[in-house]
């Protein structure tokens, strides 16, 4: 199956707009679950406003949040695909730029030193593009994540040591949630990376933060840690927007990688309540959009 770069460009544009406008069903269900068990009066009202906003965005065909984020495209190449790699990356970049200029979206991307905004949502190394491979399906999948800065600005890495054990990981996650307070637009998905190198650990935290709600870490030890941490951080009472309440996090997600005998790294990256993502699946039958 050959995939035309023009089709990828069109999908890259469409995915950015879709992601900004409609929350995935798992996140909507997450809101319903939090609202149903919230006991704080202020927190109930705040969650109600967030849920109302989801409906207003759909009714008015508008963006959920004004933060168009840092655009991230995660590409998974499955079986039976013939694709020109460099052309694929260039097409994603063009689609991202077209979404920004044609809609138009606020370009949130600037040069890190000059702070110059090219009004294209693109720059050096942005959009962020990750390419991976899978033998689990035929075709090509592109996931788009506009990662909001309020949550991204609250990211942490600790190179703990083996003598500190798993308790160092648990304590660090609780302390990061405390440190974030209301700045991350809670309720959040708290993404935790454990193991790997420093950079892999931070990447895993991002993978965890952007994973659909209701999914678990593939490793059983990681999944058990997720359940423990999800309960613990919701004891803190930070609540939606940091204004107090039960609903501090939808969930804590953990992703693992093996690490060195001398290392015990842990990273935390958070996803805000506007946990936006969209996906496109290219198969022999054409393109299908989803979340």
């Amino acid at each position: 199956m050959h995939i035309d770069p023009q089709a990828i460009e069109d999908a890259a544009k469409e995915l950015y707009l879709r992601a900004l406008k409609e929350l995935p069903p798992d996140v909507k269900r997450g809101f319903d679950a939090l609202a149903a068990r919230e006991t704080g009066a202020t927190a109930k009202a705040v969650l109600g406003t967030m849920i109302e906003n989801i409906a207003v965005a759909e009714r008015t065909d508008n963006l959920l949040c004004q933060d168009t984020g840092i655009p991230i495209y995660n590409v998974v190449i499955g079986r039976g695909v013939d694709v020109d790699g460099p052309a694929l990356k260039a097409a994603l970049r063009r689609g991202c730029e077209r979404a920004t200029r044609e809609y138009p979206l606020r370009s949130s991307i600037v040069h890190p030193l000059t702070r110059k905004n090219e009004h294209s949502s693109c720059g050096i190394g942005v959009p962020v593009i990750h390419v991976d491979f899978s033998d689990a399906f035929e075709g090509l999948r592109i996931e788009m994540i506009p990662k909001g800065s309020g949550s991204e600005n609250n990211s942490w890495l600790k190179m703990a040591i083996p003598a500190e054990g798993v308790d160092a990981i648990r304590t660090f996650v609780v302390d990061c949630v405390l440190d974030a307070g209301g700045k991350t637009c809670p309720p959040t998905i708290v993404g935790v990376g454990v193991g790997g190198t420093a950079d892999l650990c931070v990447h895993l935290a991002k993978v965890a933060a952007t994973r659909p709600l209701g999914t678990s870490c593939a490793d059983p030890e990681g999944a058990a840690l997720e359940a423990q941490l999800s309960a613990a951080v919701n004891l803190l009472g930070i609540g939606p927007q940091g204004l107090g309440g039960d609903a501090t996090a939808f969930a804590v997600h953990v992703e693992l990688a093996a690490t060195h005998i001398t290392m015990n790294p842990v990273a935390v990256n958070m996803q805000c309540h506007s946990a936006r993502r969209a996906s496109a699946l290219f198969t022999a039958d054409g393109v299908t959009y989803g979340f």
Partner: protein, 207 residues
């Protein structure tokens, strides 16, 4: 927990009457400011032609569409999506906003810190919490982009919005030393030990 309906600009007396957990709905004019706007104004000495005295500012950088200027869009910009950003990055600008520009109301999300709380008490100001990430709703409260200044900083220009029924917004920091964030954060830190105990973490004593 009273509700207040204000038309901007407001007086010091109106702002000093507000207490944490009151709610406020605004009408009239609202100014949009952001990191780059305030870096330009307070670090680089850029001047604005807008008179912010008695006014409300919101921590924002909107999505806008360039259009031909018209009575509906006097500044040549149509609002697309207007929301609110995390305030804490702009903590050090609260005092000059109040002291030099006469701003009375700061609207944002996530709260401001101790220096802002002191400035609110000394100079007569208040922080109103909006629900971050609810920009689609917030956009319906904005009638028009009336004017824009420092537009070379776009999207972090100094925006002048005409608003209708902007709120209800929660008073989260008042001019009497009250901060909802301080009380929530203190409560959360007090529960840290409980959260760690739930994770089975006990302080290891040295042998």
């Amino acid at each position: 927990m009273a509700h207040h309906e204000f038309t901007t600009p407001v007086t010091e007396g109106q702002v000093r009457a507000l207490r944490v957990d009151d709610t406020v709905t605004l009408r009239g004019t609202l100014y949009g400011i952001r990191d780059a706007t305030q870096i330009a104004m307070f670090d680089r000495g850029r001047k604005t032609r807008f008179d912010l005295a008695g006014h409300a500012v919101i921590h924002t950088a909107p999505n806008v569409r360039k259009v031909a200027p018209s009575p509906e869009h006097p500044a040549g910009y149509a609002p697309v999506c207007i929301g609110t950003t995390t305030s804490m990055r702009m903590e050090r600008f609260t005092r000059p906003l109040l002291a030099r520009c006469g701003v009375r109301i700061v609207i944002g999300k996530g709260g401001l810190g101790a220096a802002s709380l002191t400035a609110f008490a000394e100079l007569g100001g208040v922080y109103l919490a909006i629900i971050g990430g609810t920009a689609a709703l917030e956009t319906t409260w904005v009638e028009a982009i009336e004017d824009v200044d420092l537009d070379d900083l776009n999207p972090e220009s100094l925006w002048k919005f005409r608003i209708r029924g902007f709120g209800p917004l929660r008073v989260a920091m008042d001019s009497h030393g009250g901060s909802l964030y301080d009380s929530v954060n203190a409560g959360a830190r007090a529960k840290r030990a409980e959260a760690l105990a739930a994770l089975g973490i006990q302080r290891r004593s040295p042998d």
